[in-house]
Structure formats: C-alpha cells, structure tokens
Amino acid sequence: MFPPIQDMYRMAPELVACFFGMLIMVVDPFVPRERKDISANLGVLGSLAALASILLMVRHPGEGMYGLLVVDSFSVFLHLIIFAAAALVILASDEYLKREGILQGEFYALVLFATCGMGIMTSATELMTVFVGLEISSIASYILACYRRATPKSHESAMKYFLLGSFATAFFLYGVAMVYGATGSTSLLAIRTVVAHSAGNQVLLTLGFGMLFVGMAFKIATAPFQIWTPDVYEGAPTPVTALLASGPKAAAFAVLLRIVFTAFGDASSTWFWIVWASAALTMVVGNFAAVVQSNIKRMLAYSSIAHAGYLLVAVAAAGAAGENSDAGIAAVLFYLVAYALMKLGAFTIVSHLGGSGEQRLAIDDYAGLSTKQPLTALCLSLFLLSLLGLPLTAGFLGKLYIFQAALDARLIWLVVIMAVTTVVGAFYYLRVIWVMYFREAQQEWTPVPVTPGVASVMLITAVGILTLFFAPGPLLAFAVRSAAALR
C-alpha cells in the first residue's frame, strides 16, 4: 500500500523543505527574542539542503506516486530554478527582516512551504496534484505579502493578491473539471491520448483549456490578467516581491508548458491564438506602462509583466514549430533562468536600499548612488542592462534565443512587436542607470552598509548573469534535453 521508497527520493526536495519548515515552526517559539538568528540560520540551512537534495531526485528518474508525478530533466531543471531562487531570497531577507523588526521564524517556514508547493507544480503530471501544489504556494504567498503588518500598503497588496488569486485558482479548477468532463481523466498523459484521437467533447476541451490558461496566466502575470501585479509587488515586503517575481512564475510556466505540450501537444490550433494574443498584449501593456512609473518597485513589476510576454512569445513559437518545438521550449527555460537571476538581483538591491519602512523607493532616490556605493550601483546597472537585453549579459542571449525560435516559426508579427517594445524598454531601464551615475543626490543620505547575505546574493546573481553570456553551452544543452522530455 505504502508507496515505494524511491518515490520519497523523487520528491526529496519537497520533503526536505517541508521538514525544515516544520522544524522552524517547532523550534522558533522556544528561541529567545535576541537569538532569532537561529531561525534564520535554519531557514538558510533548509533551503540549501532542499537544493542539495535535488541530487537524490536526479538519481531516481521516472514516474512516481502512482503516476502522479515524474522526475525527468524538465522537472529537475525547474526544481533547480525554484529552489535556488528560494535559497537566494532567504539569504538576502535576513537584513530586511531585522531592519523592519519583523524577524520571525514563520517567514522562513512560509517561504519553504511555498517552495515545496512550487516544486510539486513542476513535477506533477496530473491536474489535481498541480492544483494542490498551486494552492500551497499561493496561500503561503498571500500570507507573505501581508508580512509588513504595520503598513497599510502591505495589507492592500495581500488583499488584492488573495482575492484575484482565489478567482484565478477557481478558474483553474473549473478548467480541470471541464477537461475531466471531456476526456474522463485528469492525468496529462491520458488527456494527450484522447486529444490525439480528436475524441472527447471538443467544445468542453477548448473551454477547459481556456480556463486552465486563465489560471496560469494570472500567476505569470500576462495581460489581460496582470492588473494585480504592480500593487502586489509594490506593497509586499521586497524580499517577498523577489520571490513572487521568480519562483511562482517559473512554476506556473512549467505547468503551462506541461499542459500545452504534454496534454494538448497535437492540437496546436486550439491554444495557439490564445497564447499569441496574450503575448502581444502583455509586451505592449508591460513596456508602455513601465515608462511612466516613478517608483522602482512598480517599474520592475511592469517590467516583469513585459518579460512574461517575451516568454509567451517563445511558447507560441514552440507551438507553431510543430514537431520542432524543442528550440522554443528551450528558449523559455533558458530565459526563465536568466530572468530569475536578474529579478532576484534587482529586487535584492531595491530591498537593501529601501531604508527603514521602505521609504526610499522612488527612482529619484537613487541619484548619486554611484559615488556612495559604487559596487551596488554597478551590480544594479548590470541587472537592468540584462533585463533590457544588451550584450555581455544573460538577458541578451535569452532574448536572442526567443527571437531565433520565433523567426524559425515564422511569427513575424510577434517578432516585430517584441523588437519595438524592447526598444521602449530601453527608456525606463537606462533612466535608472542615468539617475544613478549622472545626477547629484537631492538630499544627504547614507545607504546602510551591505551585509554579507545581500552581498553574496548580489555576487551570485551577477556572476550567474555574466557566466550565462560567456558560457551558455551547458545550460542550453540541459534546456534542450529538458524540452525533449516534455513530449
């Protein structure tokens, strides 16, 4: 009856993350207030242990838990992104939590639980399991968004995220019900068989896919389901924003890719135009709205919407390429890594410079940073240039692969929109760099010194971005292998 021990290894990262989450919950009440470092250290240790336990997972490939989840290169790839992102967030959040006076063990426990949910989403091959993973990660994120309880903005953020997120998951669940009604199964492989034979009720199937897409589009913040993003990103504590921008997005893209290419793989027409339209709209909305922002968190939020659009272009390209979809999927995966690095780095710096109560968030507050903390300014410039997609950064190669995949699939219009909106993007990214280097500070202020945690995150993300440009080979090969695992 009990599932074999190999299945435990197959979900080792999730189990380790949960174990440490519970351990922190048990230990934290007994830790005196002035020694809360113990919880923080447990959090760092837990996230690193979970990251390391991916090795255990790698050694037991194949289906597990009665076919509800699978360990293949695809799930390993995404586990690496998600658990590494969680480790970086935990590493950088120590300084922030201390400064805001909200140093509590529950923060680390919630991050670990959320990561566990995201991990489940990426390896699940059955829609109900995906749904439970999605709920675990969502509910943990709603609470994390509300973590600055003294600030009304944080409440607003959590409330908006919670209400709209609940709607989105309801849509997802309704979609699961419809797909089940049409195919008689919630397993992606079984759905694939039915779809491939054009059996099942086509109307229900299309409606069901639409609903599933709405659920995922909310999580990855693509238009027209992006309304919540700026407010939530702005109000949430910045380390949480960093987590929201990297982890859940990667997990939701994993689910979308699995649904699209494993289940609906042979019926590209039903979903292709949905993805196409959403990609075009997202790029336009995200980039143009980012131009008028004066708050750096809101600007980065709109930029993350824009990037979701670029990623959807690659998804559409993979769909249009038919049999040769690997290039497009690999482009998505490569870009997800680059994107997670850039956003984690940028938000970590924003969180570091925010000052107590997150007072300094206007772009103008960054004036004169180049003389006060030259290295921080340099790193932030690197992240922004990478988000823009200039050479010498991972963002450049990521965009290049997407362009290539889209051109190969002959999606000329999407390529044109992407190129134009990228140029628009240059305006708001370069403006921040210009303010940092060429404008004098309006008032006297001294940024807090960089703590080891923040410094290591800045270093890791910056080195990662440069490495991916100079030696993209191994990661790209891994991404192509992962893409092949989907079919």
Binding site: Y66, L68, F113, M128, G133, Y180, V203
Partner: protein
C-alpha cells in the same frame, strides 16, 4: 416524463431561483440564506445522479460549515444593507446583458455537444467505497499534500493574528 426528470426540474428551478435571490437581495444575511437554498438544491441534484457521498459532503461542508463561517463574518462585520452607487447601477445595465449573453452562449455550447460527456460521468467513482479506495491509493499524493496546505493555512492564521510586541 419519468419521476427522475420531474424531480430534476424541480431541484434545478429551486437552485436557479436561489441563485437569483442571492444576487438580488440587498441584505447580506438574506443573500447568505439564499445560498443555503442553492447548496441544498445542488445536493439533491448530486443525489439524483447517484453520488451519495458528494451530496453528503455538499450538505455537511457547504450548507453546514462554510455557511456558518459566512454568517459569522457578516455578523462580525455588522454588515448592513448594501448601498447603490454609480458603479453598481452601471453593473446593472452592462452586467445584466453580458451575463445573459454568457448564459445563451453556454446553453448553445452545452446543447450542441453533449457527446462524450455521458461516458465520463458514468465512469466517475461516485460510490463512497471507490472514492476512498482511490484517495488512499492512486491519489495518495494530493491527499497527503492537502495536510501541508492546511498546515500553511493555520500558520497563516497565526502569523496574521499574532499580537505585535
């Protein structure tokens, strides 16, 4: 017309009327009570389809637990009659036609394609025994994961309710 079909239409009519009343009522408590009518009528529909468990769960969880929660929240907030604003008036003129349009669309779709649905419904594990078997074998993973979900929810309640000191 068999007895089953007659019972179906009675229950369906009750459910729809309850749902309409839920939206039309201006006092939140009346809306909540209308929702109970919808829930019970739906439970009857499930029973008619031969899924006793789903019907029982519907009554216990939705008509019971969830409704108690609703009523508690309404009373805690001391919510009175809702006020009509410009936006809510606009919702009437834009929302009603749109909702009607959506209903027609769904009706057309459902009427056009009922093939493939019957097979799925008849193979569903309606019986309690089958369902519990599935929960503890094939679907053990989501079942166990739900416990983590509940743990996260409890943790969230603690975090949000904790006194700042």
């Amino acid at each position: 017309m068999s007895a089953q079909v007659i019972v179906f239409f009675i229950l369906a009519a009750v459910a729809v009327l309850g749902a309409v009343s839920l939206i039309v009522q201006r006092h939140p408590i009346r809306s909540a009570l209308s929702l109970i009518v919808v829930m019970v009528a739906l439970a009857g529909l499930y029973l008619l389809q031969g899924s006793e468990l789903v019907a029982a769960v519907q009554i216990i969880v939705y008509a019971g637990a969830i409704m108690v929660l609703f009523v508690f929240v309404i009373m805690l907030l001391n919510a009175g009659e809702e006020e009509r604003t410009n936006v809510s008036r606009m919702a009437r003129y834009v929302g009603l036609p749109l909702g009607f349009f959506l209903m027609l669309q769904l009706a057309w779709w459902v009427g056009r394609g009922t093939k493939g649905m019957a097979t799925a419904a008849s193979s569903s594990p309606a019986m309690t025994r089958n369902l519990s078997k599935l929960l503890f074998t094939d679907f053990l993973l989501p079942f166990e994961l739900t416990s983590i979900l509940i743990l996260v929810a409890i943790l969230g309640a603690v975090v949000l309710a904790k006194r700042e000191n």
